[in-house]
């Protein structure tokens, strides 16, 4: 992370992400609902104009999930005991600290940013390179933050719902954030920008992260699927609500006085952040004109 040149482009990540993006853009274009009435009805309830295509990708993802991801997740769970898997999870969380710190800061959440630094320092040292979440046990729990959420707090609308092949539920804002984070992540920059052939490391990290996450929800997700009338619609709602809740920062139970000042910080910072704020204003205007039409 320290003295690596930051201008080296992680070419393979570019290709991977471009592929994902192209696939979704192409597939999305094919299937706009035809009548104007339909468009209105879909957009006001679900903002899912590419629903037909999304459902096909969702089906494909479920096929991959059933036949590859879940078996891998189950094998992972059987092969490794709980404490080992917890360590893997904590280690992966610790690797995310730099990007979480950046996003805390971009959102003006300076208290959270300080906690992220504290967690990283404590877990990387006393927590033996991140394999033990010592900071969490000391009362500084991990918190989620990413560029999609940052854009959300700046007022950038999420856009239509999209299902990305293999990666699953997303929105243009969240996917864009993910792609950008792929470039910006210091660990990715570190391993793709060196003379050794370590470019595969981000893929392994991504794969292990995916298996780690999936292994935690095997029963839960199969239960939701079994009891749902429309699993696709349920997942869509869960994804949206979860993202919205993270943007509202509902989990930060702030006492009133500091809560107010923190909110003000965030707002004034948001006003300074020019391009995203402009984009938000523009797209809001676009929405308004859409409605007026």
């Amino acid at each position: 992370m320290r003295d690596r040149p930051m201008n080296v482009r992680p070419i393979r990540l570019v290709f991977f992400n471009l592929f994902a993006f192209a696939a979704l853009v192409l597939s999305g274009c094919a299937s706009r609902p035809s009548t104007e009435q339909q468009v209105t009805a879909y957009e006001e309830d679900f903002n899912d104009p590419f629903e037909d295509t999304n459902r096909k990708i969702f089906e494909f993802n479920q096929f991959v999930d059933r036949n590859a991801i879940v078996p891998a997740a189950k094998a992972y769970r059987t092969a490794l005991p709980d404490p080992v898997r917890d360590s893997v999870h904590d280690f992966l969380n610790n690797l995310r600290a730099p990007m979480i710190f950046v996003n805390d800061t971009l959102q003006g959440q300076f208290e959270s940013a300080a906690k992220t630094v504290g967690r990283f320092v404590i877990n990387s040292t006393i927590g033996i390179g991140g394999v033990v979440d010592v900071a969490g046990r000391w009362g500084i729990p991990f918190h989620e933050e990413d560029l999609g959420l940052t854009l959300g707090t700046w007022g950038v609308p999420e856009g239509p719902y999209i299902v990305v092949p293999v990666l699953g539920p997303s929105t243009p804002r969240d996917l864009g954030g993910q792609v950008a984070e792929g470039f910006g992540d210091p660990w990715n920059v570190l391993v793709t920008g060196n003379p050794w052939t370590l470019y595969w490391i981000p893929y392994v990290r991504g794969g292990v992260s995916g298996i780690d996450q999936r292994s935690r929800y095997i029963e839960t997700l199969s239960d939701i699927e079994r009891t749902s009338l429309d699993y696709y619609a349920t997942i869509r709602s869960l994804y949206r609500q979860r993202r919205a809740a993270l943007i509202r920062h509902e989990r930060e139970n702030l006492p009133p006085p500091s809560g107010f000042s923190q909110h003000d910080d965030r707002r004034s910072f948001g006003a300074l952040a020019n391009p995203p704020a402009r984009a938000a204003v523009l797209s809001e205007t676009a929405n308004v004109s859409e409605v007026v039409k």
Binding site: A41, Y42, D45, F46, N61, D65, I69, D86, D90, D133, V134, A135, G136, R137, W138, P141, F142, H143, E144, V166, L167, G168, P169, S209, G210, Q213, R214, R216, Y217, E219, T220, L221, D223, I224, T227, S228, L229, D230, Y232, A233, T234, I235, R236, S237, L238, Y239, Q241, R242, A244, A245, L246, R248, E250, R251, N253
Partner: protein, 203 residues
Amino acid sequence: MMRRSFLTVAFIALAGALAPAIPAAAAADPAAMISNLGSRALEVLGKDATQPQRAARFRELLREDFDVPGIGRFVLGRYWNTATEEQRAEFIKLFEDYIALAYATRLAEYSGENFKVTGSRPDADGAIVSSQILRPGGAAPVKVDWRLTGRNGVYKISDVSVDGISMAVTQRSEFASVIQHNGGQVQGLIAMLRDKTKGAAAR
């Protein structure tokens, strides 16, 4: 692929949520009502209960502690207005069956995790009670909010939100999707609910 950490705990929370009856007198204090839920769930839905028993008991609790007609009306959204009286009545009945079947199985996983009520505040229709489920290994606690509707001093649960995800909103979104895919007809949803609850009962 879902990669958010809410789902596992969502159902633990629901297990606590969809818990047994409290006497009407005790229900006057929303916070106390919620803090009793977890332990009562364990009492009534013991590990020895068979699946049909659990579903039957669960339905009793559902009727006593939850505002099922109110939730049913909410989850039907704007389609409530277009439904006939008969459809509404059948929907509410099927909806109750559906919740009982969907969530009773999930209760089996609930083993009395660390659950504590952290606060309560008045709301337009009643009260909102905040609670937390503590998790091991330094993970952040799961935040569970309960929306209670009060009528004549009796509170009933009208929504549960887990880390900001409302169960009622999720259900409404799913049902709206089902109705839209059935040409905007509530009858389509009713038919699917009938199928689902019948199939599950036979299992």
